[in-house]
């Protein structure tokens, strides 16, 4: 995670939300489970403790109701996505073409095509997955 933030800090041109408090994270987790999504992975929770979502050059990692940026809301994005019917998945971010999702069944971070829902890439670690979607 430290290495990820070192990489992210290299790009000044990004919107980065302030860290979220634990209560908000718990509420969002509950809501995700209610909506039949997988719960957030441990690595991503750590990420949320450091920053509440990032958007950079058309790509975004979602946060929990980030200020002034409804489209970056994790719960909202999961409700709206065509992948909402898959209980093993939770969407964590997106770019123009793909979603970044966590597959709780396979314990993998997946890059999934927005339209045909094909899994394009899989990563076991969060760092390369986030860097892939943000194109850094």
């Amino acid at each position: 995670m430290k290495r990820l933030f070192e990489n992210l800090n290299k790009i000044s041109s990004r919107h980065q939300g302030k860290p979220v408090n634990v209560q908000k994270i718990i509420l969002a987790q509950k809501e995700l489970v209610q909506n039949r999504n997988a719960s957030l992975p441990h690595d991503f929770l750590e990420f949320l403790h450091r920053c509440n979502g990032i958007s950079y050059d058309g790509a975004a990692i979602f946060g929990i109701a980030p200020e002034g940026r409804i489209f970056l809301d994790l719960v909202q994005a999961n409700k709206m996505s065509p992948l909402s019917g898959f209980p093993e998945l939770v969407i964590l971010g997106c770019d123009e073409f793909d979603y970044l999702a966590y597959n709780a069944k396979r314990h993998q971070y997946q890059i999934i095509d927005k339209e045909d829902s094909e899994v394009l890439e899989e990563y076991s670690d969060i760092e390369p997955a986030i860097l892939h979607i943000l194109k850094i």
Binding site: E67, P82, V119, Y123, S124, K135
Partner: protein
């Protein structure tokens, strides 16, 4: 839970009005606010000033703008609430119970309501036939859009859809020993034919044979490569150029992507209009100027720091304490780029950020590049480059981008045909900053009408084995000057003759496949073969004619020289004569005056 969620979302949209004020009556009240009767003239002096004739229209206009913005924000909030309800299970269930319908029907009803709502605001939801694109073509479109190529790492832990072919895996430098770039017929690869539809890849085409030789891909193997193989060939070459010392070597820069080119092209033509919209939407002008600068320079639309132009006392105190500035710098001095870079490297960029009245760093809207016709729906196209053309792209502010994708639906089967639901944004809209047309910029990039990509012309030109000097998407071959045409024709004739002669000497005729129509050159070969003597006679005749022509040409040049010397002599003679005549005239005049003076005396 729901209540808390609403609270959260209200916080997420602070500049929009509360949901309690969203009723139509309220909205209408906000519109009619500007139509209220003007106050009586005997009110206080400030009001008198407002109602003065010269200030009247200005006030009226600004009030109307405020109304429009308020209406815009209200509409956005309504749409946002509708989207939220559509995707909220509890709301759909409650709705279904209230109207005694199935949950699916209730969702469809809500969906239709939302579509109607969006349509009234100019975002038309349409159902259209879906033509799926093959994965490899999508890969090429993405590369063109971003201008980068990803490394295909087959050894990484997770699975990947990008698979290198066995042909590419079996490559070796021995296979290309002695192979020349001319041995590759680039048009023989069906994959490269798609690549070369994109202007940016066409520009890279010249280097491709050399790269293939370097990689060890023979001309025969080249035809069997897939899109991932070719992108890996490009990656291997361009990674060394783009990031020689980088830690992460996962992505190589090929060229400026279509996305960035579009942003640059857009801002070059619509700077003033964008300034107007940003101003109307109430964004800080410092943000707008920084945005425009970044759009012009890098083609990016967001996520940059807005830096103050001049130093303030607080900034100087902080930065001088950290020894990041020299002591000579005073309050009001401009902040230079070098200084910004130094401060940023030291991690104190926050000190020089431009701030609003409440002391928060200035921010602006999230701007994204949106494909009007989605990449996935472009399967019926023959020219896939059209997907990333400027006419199919548009800049869109969030949350409107979010709205534009709110009704996306794929895979709705109707027998064997597949349909998708999409929200359509106007064909000529290049910037979408709100439902109201005032927040939109229409610009016809003109590619569809003025300079259509003429594939036939281009193919014909390519078949004539002439290299492309201009890699423009819509480029058509220029008319050749007559002299050049003549020379080319002569050269062609000479080459044909030389070929015929060598073939005659070798006495070998290449076989022509039966199922293929013979080419021009081959037709000539099929004609009755002349004897050596006839060829020699013809050569003599040509050389004689050439000598005659050269003699005549020499004579002509000499004659021209003579003519030129004569003309020069004549010109100088005329000059001397005229001067002489002038002198004579002057002399006569002097004599005449002297005579007349003598007579007077």
């Amino acid at each position: 839970m729901v209540k808390r969620r609403v609270e959260k979302l209200d916080g997420a949209f602070p500049d929009f009005v509360n949901e309690a004020d969203l009723s139509l009556d309220q909205i209408l009240d906000t519109i009619s606010a500007s139509n209220l009767p003007l106050p009586e003239p005997e009110q206080n002096s400030q009001d008198e000033k407002i109602n003065r004739f010269e200030d009247f229209y200005q006030n009226k206009i600004s009030e109307t703008c405020d109304d429009i913005l308020m209406l815009e924000k209200n509409a956005a909030t309504i749409v946002q609430a509708d989207i939220e309800n559509l995707y909220k299970g509890s709301f759909v269930r409650e709705f279904a119970a209230r109207y005694h319908m199935d949950e699916n029907d209730a969702r469809e009803k809500l969906r239709l309501d939302l579509a109607g709502q969006l349509q009234s605001w100019g975002m038309k939801c349409i159902n259209k036939r879906h033509y799926a694109l093959p994965r490899e073509i999508k890969h090429i479109i993405r590369m063109d859009f971003y201008g980068t190529v990803d490394k295909i790492d087959e050894k990484k832990d997770g699975r990947s859809s990008k698979k290198l072919s066995d042909t590419y895996r079996r490559r070796s430098p021995e296979k290309t020993a002695g192979t020349k770039p001319a041995d590759y017929n680039l048009g023989s690869s069906p994959v490269w034919i798609v690549f070369r539809q994109f202007r940016s890849f066409r520009l890279l085409e010249r280097n491709l044979p050399e790269l293939l030789i370097k990689e060890g891909v023979s001309p025969q193997d080249y035809k069997r490569l897939n899109a991932y193989d070719l992108s890996q060939v490009l990656y291997n070459h361009y990674i060394t150029k783009s990031k020689p010392d980088a830690e992460r070597k996962e992505r190589a820069n090929l060229f400026l992507g279509a996305k960035y080119r579009f942003v640059k092209a857009f801002i070059r033509r619509n700077k003033t209009a964008l300034r107007r919209i940003m101003d109307m939407r109430g964004y800080d002008h410092r943000y707008t100027e920084t945005l425009i600068k970044h759009m012009e320079q890098y083609g990016v639309t967001g996520g940059f720091d807005v830096i103050e132009k001049n130093y303030t006392q607080e900034m100087l105190e902080e930065l001088k304490k950290r020894k990041l500035l020299s002591p000579e710098i005073k309050v009001g001095d401009p902040i230079t780029d070098d200084q910004i870079a130094r401060i940023k490297a030291a991690g104190f960029i926050g000190t020089i950020l431009a701030r609003d009245e409440s002391g928060n760093p200035i921010t602006g809207p999230e701007l994204n590049v949106h494909h009007k016709v989605a990449v996935q729906d472009c399967g019926e196209k023959t020219n896939f480059a059209e997907v990333n053309q400027f006419k199919n792209l548009c800049l869109i502010i969030e949350p409107y981008h979010f709205f534009a994708h709110s009704l996306d639906r794929t895979g709705m089967a109707n027998g064997a045909e597949y349909y998708v639901s999409r929200i359509e944004i106007g064909e000529d809209v290049a910037f979408y900053g709100g439902f109201n047309k005032l927040f939109q910029i229409e610009y016809d990039f003109g590619q569809s009408r003025t300079g259509l990509y003429n594939r036939n012309a281009l193919d014909a030109f390519r078949n004539s084995k002439r290299l492309l000097d201009t890699g423009d998407e819509y480029w058509q071959p220029d008319k050749m000057p007559r002299r050049q045409k003549k020379a080319a024709k002569k050269l062609k004739q000479k080459q044909a003759l030389a070929e015929k002669n060598t073939q005659n000497t070798n006495n070998a005729v290449p076989p022509v496949p039966i199922n293929r129509p013979p080419e021009k050159d081959e037709e000539i070969i099929e004609k009755p073969v002349r004897t050596k003597e006839k060829a020699a006679q013809r050569r003599d005749k040509i050389s004689r004619k050439k000598d005659e022509y050269m003699r005549l040409r020499k004579n002509l040049i000499e004659k021209r020289k003579q003519y030129l010397t004569l003309r020069a002599a004549k010109k100088s003679a005329i000059k001397t004569i005229s001067r002489f005549e002038d002198e004579r005239k002057l002399e006569k005049l002097i004599q005449y005056t002297m005579k007349s003076q003598g007579r007077k005396r």
